[in-house]
């Protein structure tokens, strides 16, 4: 083709570039509009949580509303010593253990499902629809349903049976969808190359597929853990006689009227951040290690 149209497009490009990113100095008015919008969003998102964190550090005179009365760790001590606040420590313990079990099952099953769905098989659409269906079902109803079913069969509801199942109905579809996205960037030629070099199916999974997908698997684990640790609706009717942490917090909002409720909020947030930090740290570590060998 002639060079004339190219020259025109280049001129166009220069013009649009000027409109979007002007020379140093004044930004366009849209920048300020969007920046304001984003600030409002951040305030609306974190403001309420920050209020709770601040109020949890009051002293013994503290109440449930501003203004702040004094500054101490009184309500944190109260949280773990007072009987009237309920069994926070036990609930926390149960929630973490349950979340770990849910995480392991979610990672393993999501990985296997994503491997299976790389190929078409009879009824694959139905299996997929059934799996996603439990995401759409209202959690509370699903939880009640699981409770009822256990009741009808005559099995006591308990954390590692009914609650585990109810939570998996929530974490598995999420995990599988994330694994689909992760798997879409996996080149099947890598598997073939491994086979060509003599690897068995199991060696291919262990030496190629899992290491390549490792960051994605950590992401799925993080998803599974936080969804379970946080889960309320499906767990309410299925946890059995003893509460998980979200259930404990909920019951505390009904009968505890002191800032120790806020202290609990602060503690659980710190733990969540620690877990997220650990997960991200693992991903960074994996990538750093690969990078280090390749200095």
């Amino acid at each position: 083709m002639s060079t004339a149209p190219q020259a025109v497009t280049m001129a166009d490009e220069r013009m649009t570039k000027r409109a979007i990113a002007p020379s140093r100095g004044g930004r366009p008015w849209t920048f300020y509009l969007l920046a304001t919008l984003f600030t409002c969003y951040v305030v609306a998102l974190y403001g309420p949580m920050i209020c709770i964190y601040i109020l949890s550090f009051q002293d013994v005179r503290g109440g449930l509303v501003f203004p702040m009365k004094g500054l101490s760790l009184h309500w944190f001590v109260d949280l773990f010593t007072q009987v009237r606040t309920g069994d926070v420590k036990g609930a926390f313990d149960r929630s973490i253990k349950l979340a770990i079990v849910v995480t392991v099952i979610t990672v393993v099953v999501s990985f296997m499902a994503a491997m299976a769905f790389r190929r078409r098989f009879p009824g694959d659409n139905i299996v997929f629809a059934l799996m996603i269906g439990s995401l759409v079902a209202p959690g509370l109803v699903l939880g009640i349903g699981v409770g009822l079913l256990f009741n009808a069969i005559g099995i006591e509801t308990s954390p590692y049976a009914s609650a585990l199942g109810a939570q998996l109905s929530w974490t598995l579809p999420f995990g599988v969808l994330v694994m689909f996205a992760v798997m879409s960037r996996f080149n099947p030629a890598w598997e073939e190359a491994a086979r060509d070099l003599g690897a068995t199916a199991w060696q291919t999974i262990r030496l190629v597929i899992i290491p390549v997908l490792a960051p994605g698997l950590v992401a799925v684990a993080l998803f599974g853990f936080t969804l379970s640790y946080d889960e309320f609706a499906r767990t309410l009717q299925t946890a059995g006689p003893q509460n998980t942490l979200p259930l404990e917090i909920w019951s505390m909002t009904l009968n505890v009227t002191s800032p120790s409720l806020y202290a609990l909020g602060t503690v659980t947030t710190i733990i969540s951040f620690l877990i997220i930090g650990a997960a991200l740290g693992t991903i960074v570590f994996i990538q750093r290690r690969r990078g280090a060998r390749a200095s």
Binding site: W190, E192, A193, L197, G198, A199, Q203, A214, A294
Partner: protein, 373 residues
């Protein structure tokens, strides 16, 4: 090292994915030990499927594959003694260059020290020693290709299978890597089977070129035979460098075929051993660099064919000039005139010329209905 022979024999090899369409249709072929063999054809002609069947990544629907005399159908790739270099190289992204190359040795259970010693020797061979700790993503296309080659070669295969190994590279690099492949093949002394859609690549590299079309072999033989003596119109056109035109046979005299069409009255083609009769429509090929251009009115030597024509276009190519003519109606007719000859008396578009060639240089082509012999 190469105790095992790397000759390949394909016997009635057939592949169909759906039972209706056959991608590979009963191929018979012998590739000698230590040959550089190129499968050449357009995309979808079944050449990659054949390669994958030899590698063991695809099972034939019917037929046999013999490597070194033994049937390998059903055996996994390792026991066949083949190694494959994939089109996009398929280097493991999480492993360094050294660990990529060492992968097969790791599978075989060699200790770390042993496998790194062997790997480093191999990296030396492909001149990648200083990049051993890099990740594949940090390498250029040419370097990645060398890693892929090293990773395949470390298994000490008797056959190396290369699936479009140069297609991911830019033009200059492709020419350099072509030499590299040739050098590696000489060094290793094993059979290379290379799949490509580029005739330049095929004739530059191969001892044996296999031209394919729609699952069938059209012609197989040394590069020079296939280029200079194509069997039929398809091969001639795919390899290029030939003018192909057809005409109705008028008479056969002294083993020379003459044609009925008035514009072809000065064309005669040696009949050779092919059996043609009066009234048959036959294809004729003449190499583009065998065609001389002469101003009209100049007398021709005896035993020279000529076609009167007009110059349609002239393209300067550096060492020669490509002159396009309207000599044969709808078929493209081109003369490659050496640069010095052309500029002694240059033609311009619209000039009337005679395209001439010595009669014995033209060839009769087989009818496209008989694919294999």
């Amino acid at each position: 090292m190469a105790v095992l022979r790397g000759d390949i024999e394909l016997a009635g090899l057939t592949k169909s994915y759906d039972g209706v369409h056959t991608v590979v249709q009963g191929i018979n072929l012998k590739i000698p030990d230590g040959a550089y063999c190129c499968f050449l054809g357009p995309s979808g002609c079944g050449k990659t499927t054949i390669l994958r069947m030899i590698a063991g990544h695809e099972d034939p629907t019917d037929g046999e594959i013999l490597i070194g005399g033994e049937n390998v159908v059903g055996l996994p790739p390792v026991t066949r003694g083949t190694a494959m270099m994939f089109q996009s190289y398929a280097l493991f992204p999480h492993l360094s260059v050294r660990d990529n190359v060492a992968f097969a040795l790791r599978i075989r259970g060699l200790s770390k020290a042993d496998r790194y010693r062997k790997t480093d020797a191999m990296l030396e061979k492909v001149r990648l020693s200083e990049l051993a700790d890099r990740l594949p993503a940090q390498l250029s296309g040419g370097q990645q290709q060398r890693v892929a080659l090293a990773r395949a070669a470390i298994t000490e295969p008797r056959v190396l299978l290369l699936d479009e190994p140069l297609s991911a590279l830019d033009e200059q690099l492709r020419v350099r890597m072509r030499l590299e492949l040739q050098r590696m093949q000489r060094d290793l002394g094993i059979t290379f089977v290379h799949v490509t859609h580029s005739q330049l690549e095929a004739i530059a590299l191969a001892d044996m070129v296999v031209v394919m079309d729609r699952g069938e072999i059209k012609q197989a033989g040394p590069a020079r035979d296939v280029y200079a003596a194509p069997r039929d119109r398809y091969v001639a056109e795919f390899l290029g460098g030939q003018n192909v035109f057809s005409g109705r046979v008028d008479a056969i005299k002294d083993n020379l075929v003459s044609f009925a069409a008035p514009q072809m009255k000065h064309v005669a083609v040696p009949a050779g051993s092919s059996r043609v009769g009066k009234g048959d429509i036959i294809d004729v090929a003449v190499r583009r660099d065998d065609v001389d251009l002469i101003r009209p009115g100049i007398d021709l030597a005896p035993d020279t064919s000529s076609l009167a024509s007009r110059v349609l276009a002239v393209e300067y190519q550096g060492n020669f000039v490509k002159v396009m003519l309207d000599a044969t109606g709808e078929d493209e007719f081109v003369a490659y005139v050496p640069e010095r000859v052309f500029f002694r008396d240059p033609y311009t578009i619209g000039d009337v010329v005679q395209a001439t060639w010595p009669c014995h240089l033209a060839r009769l082509l087989a009818k496209t209905t008989s694919p294999t012999a």
